[in-house]
């Protein structure tokens, strides 16, 4: 499990690599929460291209981070969602609160649009 990130105009772009299950969820959660201690971050854009697996233990990780940024008026979006993960997102209704984009650029453009 690996989490890497970069900041770009109020948005945190986070790449999550590996498998997100109950075993790895704690580490991902902690990593994200420490990144979110930076109060200038409003939005999170996830790059899930290298996320090879996610089960329902991942759902809580996304909802929890959504709660944090939505209180700041921000959004969570996901990009490059592979089919297994897409299915988990669909079943769980995560797309009601998290928007899906094909690319990071599109996600950032959309945030920029609402933001500025």
């Amino acid at each position: 499990m690996q989490v890497s990130s970069r900041k770009t105009k109020g948005a945190l772009v986070v790449k999550v690599e590996g498998e997100l299950d109950h075993h790895t969820a704690d580490a991902v959660r902690e990593r994200l929460d420490s990144l979110l201690e930076d109060p200038s971050i409003k939005h999170i854009v996830f790059d899930l291209s290298q996320l090879k697996f996610m089960d329902s233990s991942g759902i809580g990780v996304f909802i929890g981070r959504y709660k944090v940024v939505s209180q700041r008026g921000g959004t969570v979006s996901v990009t490059h969602v592979t089919s297994q993960i897409n299915k988990v997102f669909e079943v769980s209704g995560l797309y009601r609160i998290i928007k899906k984009y094909d690319s990071i650029e599109e996600a950032l453009a959309d945030i920029g649009g609402c933001d500025e």
């Binding site: 697996f53 089960d55 329902s56 759902i59 297994q84 079943v91």
Partner: protein, 149 residues
């Protein structure tokens, strides 16, 4: 109907075994020559059931999780068994969003995911008696490795 092949896997309820369990079942299921999507479905459902055995069945104690997989022509049956706490109200437990551990950021979607990704989900459980989850999936593909014998 007798199974073409079967296996039984036992391991302690440690979270690092969640990925081991789903990879093992996927490797076994490969004998039925499933599609990539079918394999992903099976992995996801097994991951849910094994995770439940670890966090809900045994909570913070260590117990044995047993996974049994049986292969039939065009069908796989998987049982995930724990001898842990058991479930008092199975109907409630299976409802979407119901979780007894919201403090752990559990989403309560485990059973719903199993039901979506598999064709049949059967739960046998009673308080103090442990839990047995049976997952069944019918595979569109046929034959594969087994067909060649």
């Amino acid at each position: 109907m007798e199974a073409i092949n079967e296996m039984r896997l036992e391991f302690p309820s440690k979270s690092q075994n969640e990925s081991f369990a789903r990879v093992t079942v996927a490797a076994f299921a490969a004998q039925l020559d499933p599609t990539l999507e079918e394999i992903a479905d099976i992995k996801t459902a097994v991951s849910e059931a094994v995770t439940n055995a670890i966090i809900h069945g045994y909570e913070n104690t260590i117990g044995i999780v047993t996974v049994i997989a049986k292969l039939y022509e065009g069908k796989i049956e998987i049982e995930v068994i724990d001898e842990g706490k058991g479930i008092e109200d199975i109907e409630k437990a299976r409802q979407p969003l119901y979780t007894s551990k919201p403090e752990l950021e559990r989403s309560g979607m485990g059973f719903t995911v199993m039901e979506t990704f598999m064709d049949e989900v059967e739960v046998v459980s009673a308080p103090g008696q442990g839990t047995r989850v049976k997952l069944v999936k019918y595979l569109k593909s046929t034959g594969g490795e087994l067909g060649r014998e």
